[in-house]
Structure formats: C-alpha cells, structure tokens
C-alpha cells in the first residue's frame, strides 16, 4: 500500500487517521443497525415490552450494585432455614429435617432398630416388674444409664453372656466339661469327648488317629499315627488311659519286645494284611502288627509305634521276630474285646 502524505486537513488529523476513524465508526454503525433490526422485529412481534412490569415494582427490584451486598441488596450470610414437621408440628432446622422425619415417621433403618430395641427393653422391664415389685417406672431410654436400675444390669449381663457363650473357644472347653452343651454351635465336630464314646468308638479312633490328648485343650490329636507333635510313648499312654487301664503293665511302655500282644491268629491275620497293603520293609510291617495288636481287631491304620519300635529295638526285623514269639504277655490288652 502506498505511503500517504501527512497533511493536516481536518483538526490536525491526517487523511490516514481520518480513514481509520471512519472505519471504526462504520463498524459501530453496523452493530447499532443490528440492534435496530432486533428491536424492530421485537416491536412487530409484540415481545419488546414483554419483560417489563409496572414502574413501581421495576424500581423496587432494580439491580443493586453496592459493595458488600449482592445483586438483591442482601448481605451474603448463610440464613438458617426453618421448617415445620408435618408429623409432630415442631419447628426444625432445615438441615436436621430429614433425619428427624425418618425417626418421627418410623421409616428407615435406624428408627426401626431403635424401636425394636426399645420394645425388647420394655418387654424385659414388664417381665422384671412381675418378678421384682420394687422396680420403679424408669423409661426405657434410661437403660443406657448403667448405675441406675437393677434390670439394666441384667440386660447388660445377658448381652455380655450371650457374646461370650457363643465364642468358639468357650465351646471347646464346654465340650469336654459338659459333654453336650454348645455342641450344636461348634464348628468342629471332631474331636468328640472321649468320655462320651464307647469303647468301640475309642478303639476305632485310636486306630486311625494319633489320639494323644493335649494338656491344654484336653483334645485328642486328630493327626495320623506318624504325627510329629507326639511321641509314640504319648500315644501308648493315651491308649492305656482311654482303654480303661485294663491291666496293662508298665513294661508294656518300657520294653518294646514284651509288647507282643498278638495272638497267633491275630498276628497272622495282621501280617497278611500288612504284608499285602504295606509296601515298606517287612520290619515295618511286623512292627506295625504289634501296635495293631495293642489296638484291636481292625488292623486299619499304620501305627507310629512302628517307628518307636524300630528305634528302641534296634533291629526292626529282630523285634518283629521276637514279637511273634512272645505273644502271651499282653494278650490281656485285647481281652476286653
């Protein structure tokens, strides 16, 4: 674009500046024209004066532009809204209205919980009142006040007692003491009280499990005969204890070789059975016969006593052989069969 000569024509302004100014004015005129068209259209449609009210209210509701105050002229503090409960007709703060209504109308989780608790307390109270004529008429709400009334302690005690009596730990003790209390609630049916079981059942159990009775829990160990927690000696003790101390002498515990309790036939039976079933060394199978002999007619389990015999006897085979010969000494072990 070519350079314009800087000539003062109109009030010290150059042509150029005037031209620029005129451009601006044209732009302003365009915008004004736009507004005119809009207003004219509104006139012809009848929407021009639609939003207007009478001058009085117009003045009243004019926009407020003062500092420290909002457009309505109000100071911006939080106003507490109050409302009236339709149920109980009380004036309530709006933020507390919803929870109050829940309790007031009796709908909702919490209110039913509280109501049922109150019911229980009331029922107990009336029951107590029949029992104890000296109880004063405290409202159920006072139940929370432990110092006050006699029947409150009962409720608290009962709650506590209920909790405790249901715990599994207590159940264990109960089993061995009472025998049948809480037996339904226990999670573990095993081990049942050895006092309750008949001889047959005990034998059966001792055959299949280790059976050593723990000092703390008075429970029989339910692991296999080879359970690492208990020694064979313990197992022996348990068996003698459970089976009624049927005249087993001490040397049964001490001297393995004398623990030859099998009758000829029994031994042979067991031998056959063991030989068939047990793929381990013949020493093992022989020595197991001994332990089985000390158990019963049912040679079901392999006994951990086999280990013990091996250790003490030195030669598993030897002990086995000797056991065959000494059969009479502990025949009384299975006399009761």
């Amino acid at each position: 674009m070519e350079e314009m000569p800087v000539q003062d024509l109109q009030n010290g302004e150059s042509h150029y500046e005037l031209a620029v100014k005129d451009v601006m004015l044209e732009l302003i005129d365009d915008v004004s024209l736009g507004l005119c068209f809009e207003v004219h259209r509104a006139c012809k449609f009848g929407t021009l004066f639609l939003g207007d009210t009478d001058p009085k209210s117009q003045r009243e509701h004019e926009l407020v532009d003062r500092p420290g105050v909002d457009v309505f002229g109000q100071v911006p503090t939080k106003k507490q809204f109050e409302c009236m409960c339709p149920n109980c007709e009380r004036n309530l703060a709006a933020s507390r209205f919803a929870p109050h209504l829940e309790k007031c109308m009796g709908m909702g989780r919490n209110s039913s919980r509280i109501a049922s608790r109150r019911q229980a307390a009331m029922a107990k109270e009336t029951e107590n009142r029949m029992v104890n004529p000296f109880i004063t008429d405290d409202s159920p709400d006072d139940d929370n006040d432990v110092d006050w009334s006699y029947h409150v302690d009962k409720k608290v005690k009962r709650l506590k007692k209920d909790k405790l009596s249901n715990s599994p730990r207590r159940n264990k003790f109960h089993k061995f003491r009472n025998g049948d209390s809480n037996s339904d609630r226990s999670a573990t049916p095993e081990p049942p009280s050895y006092e309750l079981m008949s001889l047959e059942e005990r034998k059966h159990l001792l055959l299949s499990t280790c059976g050593v009775i723990s000092e703390h829990t008075k429970k029989m160990c339910t692991r296999s005969h080879k359970c690492p927690q208990h020694t064979d000696e313990q197992r022996q003790k348990v068996r003698s204890f459970l089976l009624g101390h049927s005249g087993v002498e001490d040397d049964v515990n001490i001297d393995i070789d004398s623990l030859d309790d099998l009758d000829g036939q029994l031994i042979r039976e067991n031998l056959q059975w063991e030989a068939g079933s047990n793929a381990s060394s013949p020493a093992d199978s022989n020595s197991t016969n001994n332990s089985i002999g000390s158990s019963y007619k049912k040679p079901t389990g392999k006994s951990g006593k086999s280990k013990k015999k091996k250790y003490k006897g030195g030669h598993g085979g030897g002990s086995g052989v000797t056991s065959l010969t000494h059969s009479a000494s502990d025949s009384n072990l299975y006399e009761f069969e």
Binding site: D30, C36, H40
Partner: protein
Amino acid sequence: DMKRKDAQMRATINQKLIETGERERLKELLRTRLIECGWRDQLKQHCKEVVKQKGLEHITVDDLVSEITPKGRALVPDNVKKELLQRIRTFLAQQSNI
C-alpha cells in the same frame, strides 16, 4: 485530486479489511466489548423509549436507525474506541509490509 486519493485510499483500506476477513473479526470484537460495557442495554432502553414515543404500531426501521445511530456512536466508551483504532492501525501497518 486530494479527494480522489482520499477516496482511493479508503477503498483500498476497506478492500483489504474485507478480503482478509479482518473486518468480521473486528466487528465481533467490537460486539463483545460493547455488550461487556453495557452499551447494548443502554441503547436498547433508548430504543424502547423511541418506540414508546413514536408508537408501537407505527415504528419503522428507518425511524429507529436515524434515532439510534448517533446515540450509539456517542455512547461507546473511550477505551473501546481506542482499542478498536489500535487494532485497525496495526492491521493496516501489517498490510503495508506484505
């Protein structure tokens, strides 16, 4: 002669503004600024008064335009004017470089 040059100059300016689309952009900018400063509401109020004066039934566009335009020009705040002028000058200065 001067007038012819003047007219030629203006024509050129306008041509440049339109061709590049700068005119539209400037107009949009102006509209925004005028709404922000409340010029539009002021002017609309004035329109209503004119309509009330002239009568709703008989108002014409020309009536409105002739009444509104000078008022409009006068009501534009100075800062808006200055901004617009600056932009035009800048644009034209750029144009002369290309």
